[in-house]
């Protein structure tokens, strides 16, 4: 008897099946791609799903304009290596159009929903593939793999389509779309194990580096041009790495000396705090903040 496939093989095969279903059933899909680790995993899966052919859908980055340069560099390099078209739509564009108005100091993270919905409308997309995982947050635990959004881009947790076997239903009417989450069943640990197995190159900030931070509300907030220290805060330079990478103004690193995927896996396996709990200021605002944002069209 040959040995069973590993859990990574199982997850990979499932994700590839989902990506091929999108290509087979959807007319105008995009793959949401930021250069962050989950989207790099997603792109690798797409690469393997269609090899030796090209990834049959463009990439779309919803850009807050507050980026880590290492991540943008990785985004552009991977898109160029695979010869896939990269579309960028920016929150700043939405601000210029007046569809996004932020209060002084408000994070642009939630505003990405508006820009994404505008891009979906502009590009007439019927599917947007994303790297969200059900283990991230409890509002995601009930998310479908193919998640239906109405003409306002809203997620209605009460009116989700039942999803049975691997018979996904991506059927949409005019102006509606589906969000597709091929790595729904992956955990943070699975993602890191896959990165190690595939020898995926990540932006360097996912590994330990020295960075100026301040301690704020139990988190380590990075000190950048956009996020200067507040009055009375002491700037420290610490060894840190990012577990998630989003908008600069609301993503925090964790203290770490892990310099390789294997060392990150060891840390993740022993982690005491969830990925979002350790790193995202906006998710802490309210227990239900992710759920609210999702209902409004967030990733």
């Amino acid at each position: 008897m040959t040995p069973d496939r590993s859990h990574l093989d199982w997850l990979e095969s499932e994700a590839v099946f989902i990506l091929r279903e999108v290509a087979g059933e959807c007319a105008r899909p995009v793959l949401l791609f930021s250069g962050g680790k989950d989207s790099l995993v997603l792109l690798r899966l797409a690469e393997k799903a269609f090899r030796p052919g090209r990834v049959p859908f463009p990439l779309l980055h919803i850009d807050t304009g507050h980026n880590f340069p290492e991540v943008l560099e990785c985004r552009d390099r991977r898109a160029a290596e695979l010869g896939v078209r990269l579309l960028v739509r920016s929150v700043e564009g939405s601000m210029r159009r007046g569809s996004v108005r932020l209060r002084e100091g408000e994070s642009r993270n939630a505003a990405q929903s508006v820009t994404l919905l505008e891009a979906i409308e502009e590009l007439q997309l019927d599917a947007a593939i994303g790297g969200a995982r059900r283990d991230e947050e409890k509002a995601r635990a009930k998310e479908r793999v193919f998640s239906f959004r109405d003409t306002f881009g809203q997620w209605d947790p009460r009116n989700q389509r039942p999803e049975l076997w691997d018979l996904y239903n991506p059927r949409v009417g005019a102006g509606e779309h589906v969000r597709v989450f091929p790595i729904s069943n992956w955990t943070e640990l699975d993602v890191w194990q896959y990165i190690a197995r595939e020898k995926l190159e990540l932006p360097s900030i996912y590994y330990a580096h020295r960075r100026a931070v301040v301690r704020r509300n139990g988190l380590l907030a990075p000190v950048t041009g956009l996020t200067p220290p507040r009055a009375g805060e002491a700037v420290e330079e610490l060894w840190v790495r990012f577990r998630t990478v989003g908008d600069v103004s609301c993503t925090c690193p964790v203290a770490s000396r892990a310099a390789t995927p294997e060392e990150v896996i060891a840390e993740t396996a022993a982690a005491r705090v969830t990925e979002r709990g350790a790193t995202r200021m906006d998710d802490r605002t309210s227990e239900a903040s992710m759920e609210r944002r999702k209902r409004e069209g967030y990733f």
Binding site: W10, R161, W165, D190, T274, E291
Partner: protein
């Protein structure tokens, strides 16, 4: 969330802990220990890449401890991290408990808390050094048929909760029936709340006997029983000290030992084309092997073309291989140039699926919109979508009596019926009992695009 929480408090205390209120002191006592011990324990090492995946469903009614059992599984396998645990402890204190109530791990969405209901199937994850687990956690009350059918459709095993102090109830019979209907071959009955019956072996034996008697005519391939106390963590992950008379495996040991994929590999080869790729001259057919195995050089039958050919190459995600098996996503190249498109079938030449435009099926109605007799639906079977209509309803199963009742022509949400379907194009099918992947289908409402029903071919 303080105002929301007050409502939940009333709801949860009223429902989830109904029937347990006679033991408040006992509850506080047994919950203290794990709550304090938790943050000091590290998660077990995970053998990267060497474990397989088991998907299972948990079924139970509101007050038989399902949430506590799931919380216990996650907690004792060290999946609950500090921030989650802190949130849990905080919520528990607000709800009047001294220690963290593990059942709150499965607490749902704000939208649900507002209404005091559980809407939907939730998926939860944990891993041991041996394997990764995906739990489909289905609510036990509202719309339980729809939710349980959804969760069970992808499950390789079912854990049915029974309350030791109540034995086999009507709900337990329904769960067993539905798990069996959805083709789950591995069913584990966790006889919970053994603390309420003084951990008495005779009570466990009596519950087991009643389940076994009810299940006998269903001929479930594997039906196992384990006595547990989820609240105190006995026989879930750890054995505990109060049931020395039980010498069988713990619930986790049972789940670690189940091998649902083995059976799928022994069956004849089934493959449905997802996409056709024209790369470097030769055509490749992309898809995931639904059943059996395929070797380079195997003779296969292509449907609907009804042509025989040989497998010229198998490209897996890791490169070309001589063999691939059920569950593998591959690209196949065939020896002959044939007209093959998405939704076509490539199968074992000597034991092919049945090409048919008429189906005898068990249908579970999922949509709020009832079945419109003679209306046109879309039927998605494997990667193939065809027009369909329900030509007749033979009977509807009375879910309470678990008996067929004739005389209905429409179906409402949660109805289970035996129907005849007519299809605009053939599908290439096996019976659901033979092969889930090629025996299952969904009906899609052609007008709204919503999923209307789940079907199993007889």
């Amino acid at each position: 969330m303080s105002t929301d929480d007050a409502g939940v408090l009333a709801f949860k205390n009223g429902l989830r802990f109904f029937g347990r209120e006679i033991h408040p002191a006992k509850k506080a006592e047994i919950m203290e220990r794990p709550a304090e011990a938790a943050p000091d324990l590290a998660r077990p090492p995970h053998e990267g890449g060497n474990s397989t995946v088991l998907r299972f469903i948990t079924c139970g009614s509101v007050d038989d401890g399902k949430s506590t059992l799931i919380g216990r599984l996650l907690h004792d396998t060290r999946q609950i991290l500090e921030d989650q645990f802190a949130a849990l402890a905080q919520a528990s204190r607000r709800r009047g408990f001294a220690a963290a109530d593990l059942s709150l791990v499965t607490d749902g969405l704000e939208a649900e808390r507002e209404q005091g209901i559980t809407i939907d199937v939730a998926y939860r994850y944990f891993a041991t050094p041996r394997r990764k687990f995906i739990i489909a956690d289905t609510p036990g009350h509202e719309q339980y048929t729809r939710n349980m059918v959804t969760g069970a459709s992808t499950a390789g095993a079912a854990v049915l909760l029974a309350d030791a102090s109540k034995g086999l109830l009507a709900q337990g019979r329904r769960h067993l029936y539905l798990a069996h209907l959805l083709g789950i071959r591995e069913i584990v009955v966790a006889v919970n709340k053994m603390d309420l019956v003084d951990h008495d072996e005779r009570v466990f034996d009596a519950v087991r006997a009643s389940f076994a008697a009810f299940a006998a005519p269903l001929r479930i391939p594997s039906l196992r029983f384990v006595p547990v106390c989820a609240l105190a963590g006995e026989m879930v992950v750890a054995r505990g000290a109060r049931m020395p008379w039980y010498r069988g495996p713990t619930l986790l040991e049972i789940l670690e030992g189940i091998e649902p994929e083995r059976a799928a590999r022994a069956r004849p080869f089934r493959f449905s084309v997802q996409l056709v790729q024209r790369a470097s001259g030769a055509r490749r057919y992309l898809g995931r092997i639904a059943a059996g195995a395929v070797r380079k050089g195997d003779e296969v039958l292509v449907l609907p073309a009804s042509r025989r050919t040989r497998v010229a190459a198998i490209h897996t995600l890791e490169g070309e291989r001589a063999v691939a098996r059920a569950g593998d996503s591959v690209a196949l190249a065939l020896a002959d140039e044939l007209d093959v498109s998405r939704g076509d079938s490539i199968a074992h030449a000597a034991q092919p699926p049945r090409a048919t435009r008429e189906l005898d099926a068990t249908l579970v109605w999922l949509a709020e919109q009832p079945l419109a007799p003679r209306a046109r639906y879309l039927l998605k079977h494997t990667t193939r979508t065809v027009g369909a209509r329900v030509a007749g309803v033979a009977h509807v199963v009375d879910i309470h009596a678990l008996e067929p009742r004739a005389g209905r022509s429409s179906l409402a949400m949660n109805d289970i019926a035996r129907v005849a379907l007519e299809l605009a194009q053939p599908v290439f099918a096996d019976t659901y009992a033979e092969e889930r992947a090629t025996g299952a289908f969904i009906l899609i409402d052609a007008a709204s695009g919503h999923t209307a029903a789940a079907g199993m071919i007889r």
